[in-house]
Amino acid sequence: MTTTSLPNRWNLPDLGLGVGLRTQHFRYITEHWPAMDWFEILSENFIDTEGRPLWYLDQIAERYPIVMHGVCLSVGSTDPVDFGFLDKLRTLAGRVKAVWLGDHICWTGVAGINGHDLYPVPYTEEGLRHMISRVRIIQDYLERPLILENPSTYLTFSASSMPEEEFIARLAIEADCALLLDVNNVYVTCRNHDLDPVAYLDAIPYEHVVQVHLAGHTDNGTHCIDTHDGHVIDEVWQLYKRVHDRTGGRATLLEWDANIPKFAVLQREVRKALRFRNGAQAAAKQVAA
C-alpha cells in the first residue's frame, strides 16, 4: 500500500512516539529525563488529589508534551452530563497544558453509579444520536475537540443495527469529534466478534484520527482481553502499519498497565514503531518527488 500524508482536520500535531505515564516510572523520569516525545496521562489519576503524583506530573509537564486520556467521562451514559467533572478536566488540562484530551466510546455507569469499566454501547440509531448529542455538548463546554477511542468490546447487543466501525465513523463525522484509533482494541474486538480487522480499519475516517494506541493483550483462546500487560503482537503491528500508510503519521502511544516493566523496555517497545514510521516517511517522500 502506498503511504498517504493525510492531515487531521484540526491540524493537531503528530507528537511522535509516547508512552503512558505510570506511577512506577515517576522517579526514573524525573531523575533521568529520558528520551520520549510525549506522555499520556490517565486524567482521573490526577483529579481530586494534590499528592505526590500531581507534584511529579507538574515537573514532567514542564519538559514533555502531555495528552490527557480519561476512562470515566462516560460519554455513552444516559445519566446527565457531569459538568463538575468537565470543570475538573478543564482545570487539569490548563495546568499541564494538555495538547488534547479524550476518553472512550463507551459508558462507565448509569443511575449515579460508576463501574470503572468501559461498557459497550449498543450500535443503534438511538445510541448514535445519544452519543452525538453528548459529544457536541461536551466539546462545546470544553471548547476543544474530544478525542475518542474505540474500546475493546466483549459482547454484542442483539439490538445493534450497524457494525462498530460504522457507528464510530458516523459518530466522528456527525459529532465532528476526533478519534484515537487503538489498533490493539481493533484486533481484540475483531477477534471477539469474528470480524475482519482490515475491513474495520478501512471504514475509519482517517482525517478524524489524531492519535494511535498500541498495547499488548491476553489471548484466552475463546476470547481476547485488553490487558495492556505485554508486548505488542505482530498482527497488531501490521494493523499499525496499515493505519500509518493511510495517514502518513499520527501521534503514537504505547500503553502498558499491568506487569509494568522498566522504562527502558517501554522505550524499546514503542521505538519498534519507527520501522513503519521511517519507512512510511521515506516512501511518502519518494511519492512526493
Binding site: 482521573e44 489519576n45 483529579i47 481530586d48 488529589t49 494534590e50 499528592g51 505526590r52 507534584w55 470515566c72 455513552g76 451514559s77 444516559t78 457531569d82 467533572f85 459508558w107 455507569g109 448509569v110 443511575a111 449515579g112 453509579i113 460508576n114 463501574g115 470503572h116 469499566d117 461498557y119 449498543p122 443503534t124 440509531e125 438511538e126 445510541g127 445519544h130 466483549y154 459482547l155 454484542t156 447487543f157 442483539s158 439490538a159 443495527s161 471477539n192 466478534h193 469474528d194 483462546g221 475463546t222 476470547h223 482481553i225
Partner: protein
C-alpha cells in the same frame, strides 16, 4: 430482534449494570429481580439481548465484564488495606470487600473515594471480637493514610515563622493546621500493631486498649503516630480554631498543673508537631486589644 422491539438505551444500560455488578456473577444477575424488572425477556432468552459469539455464550460474554468489575475494585482495596487484609486473612477480607462493593458501589469518577466508608462498613458488619476490633481500627488508619495522601498541599511554617511569634502573643494566636492531617480515636493499639507488621514481626492480636493517633503527610510522605490523650485533645482543639489559651483551658478539665510543668510539656509537644510540619499558618487577627 428488530429495531422496533429493541429496549431503550437507558433500560439496556441499567440492565447491563445490574447484571455485571451482581456479586454472584452474570447468570445470577440476569435472574435477579431488578434485572428481570428491567428486561424480563432477557431472563427468558438472553440471546434476545446479548448475542453469543462463536466460542462464548451470551452469559459468558457478560461474565467477562462481571469478573472484571470485582477484580478491578478488589485490587484497589487490597492495595489500600494491606494490614487489614493480613489481620482478617485473604478469604475473609475478600468476602468483606465483595459485600462492601455490593452495598456501596462507586459513585465517583475517580477511585480515591471508593473505600471511604469501608472501615465503617467493617465496624458494622464484622462480628465482635478482638481480632475484628483491631481490623476495624487498622482499616481506619489505612483509610486516613489514603485521605492524607490526596489532601490539599500546604507549606508548613518555618522555624523563623515560629520564632516570629512573640512570647506575649502565643496564647492569643490561632494556628492553622495542614489539611493533610487526620485524628483517630482508636479502641486498640492499632498503630503499634502496624509498626510491628512493618518490621516483619508477627504480632499477637492485642487486647482492647484505647489509643489516640494522628495520620499526616509531610512533604509527600505519609506518617502515623500515637499521641498521648492530652496531647491529642490539645492538637484537636487547635485544629478546631481555638487559641492556645482556650485549647489549654479546655484540655485542663479543671485540673491544676504547675506553670513550669505545663510550659515544659507544651514545649515538647510543639517541637514534635512543628518538626512534623503540622502547622501551616498563624492568625494574629483576633488578639485582644490592650487598654
Amino acid at each position: 430482534m428488530n429495531l422496533r422491539e429493541s429496549p431503550r438505551l437507558e433500560t439496556l444500560e441499567r440492565w447491563m449494570q445490574t447484571v455485571v455488578m451482581h456479586p454472584e456473577g452474570a447468570a445470577a444477575g440476569v435472574r435477579s429481580r431488578p434485572a428481570r424488572k428491567l428486561l424480563p425477556e432477557a431472563a427468558v432468552d438472553l440471546e434476545n439481548v446479548v448475542l453469543p459469539s462463536r466460542a462464548l455464550s451470551s452469559v459468558e460474554r457478560l461474565d467477562i465484564y462481571a469478573h472484571m468489575y470485582y477484580a478491578r475494585l478488589l485490587e484497589i482495596l487490597v492495595e489500600e488495606y494491606p494490614t487489614t487484609r493480613q489481620i482478617l486473612g485473604r478469604h475473609e477480607f475478600t468476602h468483606a470487600c465483595r459485600r462492601f462493593l455490593e452495598r456501596n458501589p462507586s459513585k465517583s469518577r475517580t477511585l480515591n473515594l471508593l473505600s471511604e466508608r469501608f472501615p465503617e462498613f467493617l465496624g458494622r458488619s464484622l462480628p465482635r471480637g478482638h481480632r475484628n476490633g483491631l481490623a476495624v481500627d487498622v482499616a481506619r488508619i489505612e483509610r486516613a493514610m489514603e485521605d492524607v495522601f490526596d489532601a490539599r498541599r500546604a507549606e508548613p511554617l518555618t522555624a523563623a515563622e515560629f520564632t516570629g511569634i512573640g512570647a506575649a502573643d502565643w496564647q492569643h494566636v490561632r494556628l492553622t493546621l495542614v489539611p493533610a492531617l487526620r485524628f483517630l480515636k482508636l479502641r486498640y493499639p492499632a498503630n503499634d500493631y502496624m509498626n510491628a507488621v512493618r518490621r516483619g514481626q508477627k504480632p499477637r492480636i492485642p487486647r482492647r486498649r484505647p489509643t489516640t493517633a494522628i495520620v499526616y503527610r509531610r512533604g509527600f510522605q505519609v506518617f502515623r503516630r500515637d499521641q498521648e490523650p492530652a496531647q491529642f485533645r490539645l492538637l484537636k482543639a487547635l485544629a478546631s480554631g481555638r487559641t492556645l489559651a482556650q485549647a489549654v483551658r479546655a484540655n485542663a478539665h479543671g485540673k491544676r498543673v504547675s506553670a513550669d510543668r505545663l510550659a515544659a510539656t507544651l514545649g515538647a509537644w510543639f517541637r514534635e508537631w512543628a518538626a512534623a510540619g503540622l502547622f501551616c499558618g498563624v492568625d494574629h487577627a483576633r488578639r485582644p486589644r490592650t487598654r
